[in-house]
Subunit: 192 residues, 2 copies
Protein backbone atom coordinates (compact mmCIF):
# COMPACT_ATOMS: atom_id res chain seq x y z
CA UNK A 1 0.00 0.00 0.00
CA UNK A 2 1.48 3.33 -1.10
CA UNK A 3 2.22 6.22 1.19
CA UNK A 4 -0.74 8.25 -0.03
CA UNK A 5 -3.15 5.41 0.74
CA UNK A 6 -1.60 4.89 4.15
CA UNK A 7 -2.04 8.59 4.92
CA UNK A 8 -5.70 8.53 3.91
CA UNK A 9 -6.29 5.35 5.87
CA UNK A 10 -4.69 6.72 9.03
CA UNK A 11 -6.37 10.12 8.71
CA UNK A 12 -9.71 8.37 8.25
CA UNK A 13 -9.25 6.52 11.51
CA UNK A 14 -7.95 9.54 13.45
CA UNK A 15 -10.70 11.84 12.16
CA UNK A 16 -13.18 9.32 13.48
CA UNK A 17 -11.54 8.72 16.83
CA UNK A 18 -10.45 12.28 17.65
CA UNK A 19 -12.42 14.50 15.31
CA UNK A 20 -11.21 16.45 12.30
CA UNK A 21 -10.15 19.67 13.99
CA UNK A 22 -8.44 17.92 16.84
CA UNK A 23 -6.32 15.76 14.54
CA UNK A 24 -3.14 17.61 13.53
CA UNK A 25 -0.80 17.17 10.60
CA UNK A 26 1.89 16.13 13.03
CA UNK A 27 -0.19 13.39 14.67
CA UNK A 28 -1.16 11.88 11.32
CA UNK A 29 2.44 11.94 10.12
CA UNK A 30 3.60 10.34 13.33
CA UNK A 31 0.94 7.63 13.15
CA UNK A 32 1.86 6.85 9.55
CA UNK A 33 5.57 6.95 10.39
CA UNK A 34 6.65 9.65 7.96
CA UNK A 35 7.94 13.19 8.34
CA UNK A 36 5.76 16.27 8.09
CA UNK A 37 7.68 17.36 5.02
CA UNK A 38 6.89 14.16 3.21
CA UNK A 39 3.30 14.63 4.25
CA UNK A 40 3.19 18.00 2.54
CA UNK A 41 4.37 16.39 -0.67
CA UNK A 42 1.19 14.32 -0.84
CA UNK A 43 -1.34 16.82 0.55
CA UNK A 44 -0.93 20.58 0.42
CA UNK A 45 -3.66 21.50 2.90
CA UNK A 46 -5.65 19.83 5.63
CA UNK A 47 -8.81 20.28 3.61
CA UNK A 48 -7.28 18.19 0.84
CA UNK A 49 -6.87 15.29 3.25
CA UNK A 50 -10.41 15.74 4.46
CA UNK A 51 -11.79 15.54 0.95
CA UNK A 52 -9.67 12.48 0.23
CA UNK A 53 -10.95 10.82 3.41
CA UNK A 54 -14.55 11.62 2.52
CA UNK A 55 -13.99 10.25 -0.96
CA UNK A 56 -12.56 7.08 0.54
CA UNK A 57 -15.58 6.74 2.82
CA UNK A 58 -17.92 7.26 -0.10
CA UNK A 59 -16.36 4.51 -2.16
CA UNK A 60 -15.97 2.07 0.73
CA UNK A 61 -19.60 2.65 1.68
CA UNK A 62 -20.78 2.06 -1.85
CA UNK A 63 -18.67 -1.07 -2.00
CA UNK A 64 -20.13 -2.36 1.27
CA UNK A 65 -23.69 -1.80 0.10
CA UNK A 66 -22.99 -3.50 -3.21
CA UNK A 67 -21.63 -6.49 -1.32
CA UNK A 68 -24.76 -6.58 0.80
CA UNK A 69 -26.93 -6.47 -2.28
CA UNK A 70 -24.95 -9.38 -3.74
CA UNK A 71 -25.02 -11.50 -0.60
CA UNK A 72 -28.65 -11.08 0.42
CA UNK A 73 -31.33 -11.77 -2.18
CA UNK A 74 -34.09 -10.40 0.05
CA UNK A 75 -34.23 -6.57 0.29
CA UNK A 76 -35.71 -6.85 3.77
CA UNK A 77 -32.69 -8.84 4.91
CA UNK A 78 -30.46 -6.12 3.50
CA UNK A 79 -32.26 -3.42 5.43
CA UNK A 80 -32.00 -5.49 8.58
CA UNK A 81 -28.28 -5.77 7.97
CA UNK A 82 -28.10 -1.99 7.94
CA UNK A 83 -30.19 -1.77 11.09
CA UNK A 84 -27.85 -4.16 12.86
CA UNK A 85 -24.78 -2.03 12.11
CA UNK A 86 -25.29 -0.47 15.53
CA UNK A 87 -24.63 -3.91 17.00
CA UNK A 88 -21.86 -4.90 14.60
CA UNK A 89 -19.89 -1.71 15.24
CA UNK A 90 -21.00 -1.45 18.86
CA UNK A 91 -17.58 -0.97 20.40
CA UNK A 92 -16.54 1.84 18.06
CA UNK A 93 -19.91 3.56 18.37
CA UNK A 94 -19.74 3.48 22.15
CA UNK A 95 -16.34 5.15 22.02
CA UNK A 96 -16.67 7.54 19.09
CA UNK A 97 -20.27 7.60 17.84
CA UNK A 98 -21.35 7.21 14.23
CA UNK A 99 -18.55 8.14 11.81
CA UNK A 100 -20.94 9.77 9.36
CA UNK A 101 -23.08 11.72 11.79
CA UNK A 102 -20.27 13.00 13.97
CA UNK A 103 -18.12 14.20 11.07
CA UNK A 104 -21.08 15.88 9.39
CA UNK A 105 -21.99 17.68 12.59
CA UNK A 106 -18.42 18.78 13.28
CA UNK A 107 -18.12 20.23 9.79
CA UNK A 108 -21.47 21.98 10.28
CA UNK A 109 -20.17 23.64 13.45
CA UNK A 110 -16.97 24.64 11.70
CA UNK A 111 -19.03 26.00 8.80
CA UNK A 112 -16.66 23.98 6.64
CA UNK A 113 -17.08 23.99 2.84
CA UNK A 114 -16.74 20.18 2.73
CA UNK A 115 -19.82 19.66 4.88
CA UNK A 116 -22.01 18.86 1.90
CA UNK A 117 -19.38 16.51 0.61
CA UNK A 118 -19.57 14.63 3.91
CA UNK A 119 -23.37 14.58 3.77
CA UNK A 120 -22.86 12.61 0.55
CA UNK A 121 -22.15 9.52 2.65
CA UNK A 122 -25.57 9.91 4.23
CA UNK A 123 -26.98 10.25 0.74
CA UNK A 124 -25.44 6.96 -0.33
CA UNK A 125 -27.16 5.17 2.55
CA UNK A 126 -30.40 7.07 1.97
CA UNK A 127 -30.55 6.23 -1.73
CA UNK A 128 -29.63 2.61 -1.14
CA UNK A 129 -32.20 2.18 1.63
CA UNK A 130 -34.82 3.88 -0.54
CA UNK A 131 -34.03 1.43 -3.32
CA UNK A 132 -34.61 -1.50 -1.00
CA UNK A 133 -37.99 -0.17 0.10
CA UNK A 134 -38.98 0.31 -3.52
CA UNK A 135 -38.14 -3.32 -4.16
CA UNK A 136 -40.30 -4.19 -1.17
CA UNK A 137 -43.32 -2.61 -2.82
CA UNK A 138 -43.44 0.79 -1.15
CA UNK A 139 -42.47 3.17 -3.95
CA UNK A 140 -44.39 6.19 -2.66
CA UNK A 141 -42.97 6.19 0.85
CA UNK A 142 -39.60 4.60 0.06
CA UNK A 143 -37.59 7.73 0.76
CA UNK A 144 -39.53 8.54 3.93
CA UNK A 145 -38.91 5.02 5.20
CA UNK A 146 -35.23 5.32 4.33
CA UNK A 147 -34.97 8.56 6.28
CA UNK A 148 -36.71 6.96 9.23
CA UNK A 149 -34.23 4.07 9.31
CA UNK A 150 -31.38 6.54 8.97
CA UNK A 151 -32.78 8.52 11.88
CA UNK A 152 -33.07 5.33 13.92
CA UNK A 153 -29.41 4.49 13.48
CA UNK A 154 -28.31 8.02 14.33
CA UNK A 155 -30.41 8.07 17.48
CA UNK A 156 -29.22 4.69 18.69
CA UNK A 157 -25.61 5.62 17.94
CA UNK A 158 -25.83 8.90 19.88
CA UNK A 159 -27.53 7.36 22.93
CA UNK A 160 -25.23 4.34 22.84
CA UNK A 161 -22.26 6.69 22.75
CA UNK A 162 -23.58 8.55 25.77
CA UNK A 163 -24.71 5.67 27.98
CA UNK A 164 -22.76 2.61 26.76
CA UNK A 165 -25.92 0.57 27.29
CA UNK A 166 -25.88 -2.61 25.20
CA UNK A 167 -29.32 -3.76 26.32
CA UNK A 168 -30.74 -0.53 25.00
CA UNK A 169 -29.15 -1.09 21.59
CA UNK A 170 -30.51 -4.60 21.30
CA UNK A 171 -33.96 -3.50 22.41
CA UNK A 172 -34.04 -0.76 19.80
CA UNK A 173 -32.83 -3.07 17.05
CA UNK A 174 -35.52 -5.59 17.95
CA UNK A 175 -38.12 -2.85 17.99
CA UNK A 176 -37.02 -1.62 14.58
CA UNK A 177 -37.07 -5.13 13.15
CA UNK A 178 -40.65 -5.77 14.22
CA UNK A 179 -41.59 -2.31 12.97
CA UNK A 180 -40.10 -3.16 9.57
CA UNK A 181 -42.12 -6.36 9.39
CA UNK A 182 -45.48 -4.82 10.10
CA UNK A 183 -44.72 -1.70 8.09
CA UNK A 184 -44.10 -3.75 4.96
CA UNK A 185 -47.08 -5.96 5.62
CA UNK A 186 -49.22 -2.83 5.38
CA UNK A 187 -47.47 -1.44 2.32
CA UNK A 188 -47.22 -4.51 0.11
CA UNK A 189 -50.77 -5.75 0.78
CA UNK A 190 -53.12 -2.78 1.11
CA UNK A 191 -56.21 -4.26 2.81
CA UNK A 192 -58.37 -1.28 2.15
Amino acid sequence: MGTRERIIDTANRLFYEQGYEQTSFASIAQAVGISRGNFYYHFKTKDEILDAVIEARLSSTREMLTTWSDESPDPLERVRRFVEIVITNQRDIENYGCPVGTLTNELAKLDHPSREHAVGVFDVFRTWLGGQFELLGAPDEADALAMHVLSFSQGVAAVSNAFHDRDFVEREVARMNTWLTEQLRQSSSPTR
Copy 2:
Protein backbone atom coordinates in the same frame (compact mmCIF):
# COMPACT_ATOMS: atom_id res chain seq x y z
CA MET B 1 -25.89 40.16 35.01
CA GLY B 2 -22.37 39.85 36.39
CA THR B 3 -19.26 39.21 34.35
CA ARG B 4 -19.02 35.59 35.41
CA GLU B 5 -22.57 34.87 34.31
CA ARG B 6 -22.00 36.65 31.00
CA ILE B 7 -18.91 34.52 30.39
CA ILE B 8 -20.80 31.30 31.10
CA ASP B 9 -23.68 32.41 28.93
CA THR B 10 -21.45 33.30 25.99
CA ALA B 11 -19.30 30.20 26.35
CA ASN B 12 -22.46 28.10 26.45
CA ARG B 13 -23.56 29.54 23.12
CA LEU B 14 -20.14 29.33 21.48
CA PHE B 15 -19.54 25.75 22.65
CA TYR B 16 -22.83 24.87 21.00
CA GLU B 17 -22.27 26.76 17.77
CA GLN B 18 -18.57 26.02 17.24
CA GLY B 19 -17.77 23.11 19.50
CA TYR B 20 -15.74 23.09 22.70
CA GLU B 21 -12.27 22.53 21.29
CA GLN B 22 -12.75 25.02 18.49
CA THR B 23 -13.84 27.79 20.87
CA SER B 24 -10.80 29.63 22.24
CA PHE B 25 -10.32 31.76 25.32
CA ALA B 26 -9.73 34.73 23.06
CA SER B 27 -12.97 34.30 21.11
CA ILE B 28 -15.06 34.01 24.28
CA ALA B 29 -13.40 37.08 25.77
CA GLN B 30 -13.97 39.02 22.57
CA ALA B 31 -17.62 37.98 22.39
CA VAL B 32 -18.18 39.00 26.01
CA GLY B 33 -16.25 42.23 25.48
CA ILE B 34 -13.59 41.76 28.16
CA SER B 35 -9.86 41.20 28.07
CA ARG B 36 -8.25 37.78 28.27
CA GLY B 37 -6.63 38.79 31.53
CA ASN B 38 -9.94 39.56 33.13
CA PHE B 39 -11.15 36.24 31.83
CA TYR B 40 -8.41 34.46 33.71
CA TYR B 41 -9.54 36.08 36.91
CA HIS B 42 -12.89 34.30 36.71
CA PHE B 43 -11.77 30.96 35.25
CA LYS B 44 -8.28 29.51 35.60
CA THR B 45 -8.56 26.79 32.96
CA LYS B 46 -10.72 25.99 30.00
CA ASP B 47 -12.02 22.89 31.76
CA GLU B 48 -13.36 25.11 34.53
CA ILE B 49 -15.49 27.00 32.01
CA LEU B 50 -16.68 23.74 30.54
CA ASP B 51 -17.81 22.45 33.91
CA ALA B 52 -19.54 25.75 34.64
CA VAL B 53 -21.33 25.59 31.28
CA ILE B 54 -22.43 22.01 31.90
CA GLU B 55 -23.66 23.01 35.36
CA ALA B 56 -25.62 25.86 33.82
CA ARG B 57 -27.15 23.50 31.27
CA LEU B 58 -28.07 21.05 34.01
CA SER B 59 -29.91 23.65 36.05
CA SER B 60 -31.60 25.31 33.08
CA THR B 61 -32.75 21.91 31.86
CA ARG B 62 -34.14 20.99 35.25
CA GLU B 63 -35.87 24.34 35.41
CA MET B 64 -37.43 23.85 31.99
CA LEU B 65 -38.74 20.42 32.86
CA THR B 66 -40.17 21.68 36.13
CA THR B 67 -41.97 24.40 34.21
CA TRP B 68 -43.39 21.83 31.83
CA SER B 69 -44.58 19.72 34.72
CA ASP B 70 -46.29 22.78 36.17
CA GLU B 71 -47.92 23.92 32.95
CA SER B 72 -49.21 20.58 31.65
CA PRO B 73 -51.34 18.45 33.95
CA ASP B 74 -51.24 15.49 31.58
CA PRO B 75 -47.95 13.53 31.52
CA LEU B 76 -48.59 12.55 27.91
CA GLU B 77 -48.80 16.20 26.94
CA ARG B 78 -45.47 16.77 28.68
CA VAL B 79 -43.80 13.99 26.75
CA ARG B 80 -45.22 15.39 23.52
CA ARG B 81 -43.72 18.72 24.44
CA PHE B 82 -40.34 17.07 24.67
CA VAL B 83 -40.87 15.28 21.37
CA GLU B 84 -41.68 18.57 19.69
CA ILE B 85 -38.42 20.18 20.81
CA VAL B 86 -37.00 19.16 17.45
CA ILE B 87 -39.56 21.47 15.85
CA THR B 88 -39.32 24.25 18.43
CA ASN B 89 -35.53 24.46 18.12
CA GLN B 90 -35.51 23.55 14.45
CA ARG B 91 -33.33 26.39 13.23
CA ASP B 92 -30.58 25.79 15.80
CA ILE B 93 -30.67 22.04 15.28
CA GLU B 94 -30.31 22.42 11.53
CA ASN B 95 -27.24 24.56 12.04
CA TYR B 96 -25.57 22.97 15.04
CA GLY B 97 -27.35 19.74 15.96
CA CYS B 98 -28.53 18.81 19.47
CA PRO B 99 -26.57 20.68 22.16
CA VAL B 100 -26.50 17.68 24.47
CA GLY B 101 -25.61 14.99 21.97
CA THR B 102 -22.95 16.93 20.10
CA LEU B 103 -21.14 18.07 23.23
CA THR B 104 -21.23 14.59 24.74
CA ASN B 105 -19.81 13.10 21.56
CA GLU B 106 -17.08 15.71 21.24
CA LEU B 107 -15.99 15.10 24.82
CA ALA B 108 -16.01 11.35 24.13
CA LYS B 109 -13.65 11.84 21.19
CA LEU B 110 -11.39 14.06 23.26
CA ASP B 111 -11.45 11.46 26.03
CA HIS B 112 -12.29 14.40 28.27
CA PRO B 113 -12.81 13.85 32.01
CA SER B 114 -15.98 15.97 31.96
CA ARG B 115 -17.72 13.66 29.53
CA GLU B 116 -19.73 11.97 32.26
CA HIS B 117 -20.63 15.34 33.66
CA ALA B 118 -22.08 16.25 30.25
CA VAL B 119 -23.95 12.95 30.07
CA GLY B 120 -25.71 14.18 33.21
CA VAL B 121 -27.89 16.41 31.02
CA PHE B 122 -29.05 13.30 29.19
CA ASP B 123 -29.73 11.74 32.56
CA VAL B 124 -31.97 14.62 33.58
CA PHE B 125 -34.11 14.13 30.49
CA ARG B 126 -34.04 10.38 30.89
CA THR B 127 -35.18 10.45 34.50
CA TRP B 128 -37.86 13.04 33.81
CA LEU B 129 -39.22 11.12 30.81
CA GLY B 130 -39.17 7.91 32.83
CA GLY B 131 -41.18 9.65 35.54
CA GLN B 132 -43.81 10.68 33.04
CA PHE B 133 -44.16 7.13 31.72
CA GLU B 134 -44.54 5.85 35.25
CA LEU B 135 -47.36 8.31 35.77
CA LEU B 136 -48.89 6.99 32.57
CA GLY B 137 -49.09 3.52 34.04
CA ALA B 138 -46.04 1.86 32.54
CA PRO B 139 -43.75 1.40 35.53
CA ASP B 140 -41.91 -1.66 34.23
CA GLU B 141 -40.93 -0.27 30.86
CA ALA B 142 -40.78 3.41 31.87
CA ASP B 143 -37.02 3.69 31.49
CA ALA B 144 -36.95 1.78 28.21
CA LEU B 145 -39.62 4.08 26.82
CA ALA B 146 -37.69 7.10 28.02
CA MET B 147 -34.55 5.87 26.27
CA HIS B 148 -36.54 5.27 23.11
CA VAL B 149 -37.86 8.83 23.09
CA LEU B 150 -34.36 10.11 23.80
CA SER B 151 -33.06 8.08 20.89
CA PHE B 152 -35.79 9.48 18.67
CA SER B 153 -34.81 13.06 19.39
CA GLN B 154 -31.13 12.35 18.80
CA GLY B 155 -31.81 10.66 15.50
CA VAL B 156 -34.10 13.39 14.22
CA ALA B 157 -31.62 16.06 15.31
CA ALA B 158 -28.70 14.38 13.54
CA VAL B 159 -30.59 13.79 10.29
CA SER B 160 -32.14 17.25 10.42
CA ASN B 161 -28.67 18.72 10.88
CA ALA B 162 -27.41 16.81 7.85
CA PHE B 163 -30.27 17.34 5.41
CA HIS B 164 -32.12 20.44 6.64
CA ASP B 165 -35.37 18.71 5.75
CA ARG B 166 -38.31 20.17 7.67
CA ASP B 167 -40.87 17.79 6.18
CA PHE B 168 -38.83 14.92 7.55
CA VAL B 169 -38.86 16.41 11.04
CA GLU B 170 -42.62 16.90 11.04
CA ARG B 171 -43.21 13.40 9.68
CA GLU B 172 -41.08 11.88 12.43
CA VAL B 173 -42.76 13.92 15.15
CA ALA B 174 -46.17 12.83 13.88
CA ARG B 175 -45.01 9.23 13.76
CA MET B 176 -43.71 9.43 17.32
CA ASN B 177 -46.91 11.02 18.56
CA THR B 178 -49.10 8.25 17.14
CA TRP B 179 -46.66 5.68 18.48
CA LEU B 180 -46.97 7.24 21.95
CA THR B 181 -50.75 7.03 21.79
CA GLU B 182 -50.95 3.37 20.87
CA GLN B 183 -48.05 2.42 23.11
CA LEU B 184 -49.81 3.80 26.16
CA ARG B 185 -53.13 2.31 25.16
CA GLN B 186 -51.42 -1.07 25.40
CA SER B 187 -49.62 -0.37 28.65
CA SER B 188 -52.38 1.22 30.71
CA SER B 189 -55.08 -1.26 29.70
CA PRO B 190 -53.57 -4.72 29.40
CA THR B 191 -56.13 -6.67 27.36
CA ARG B 192 -54.66 -10.00 28.15
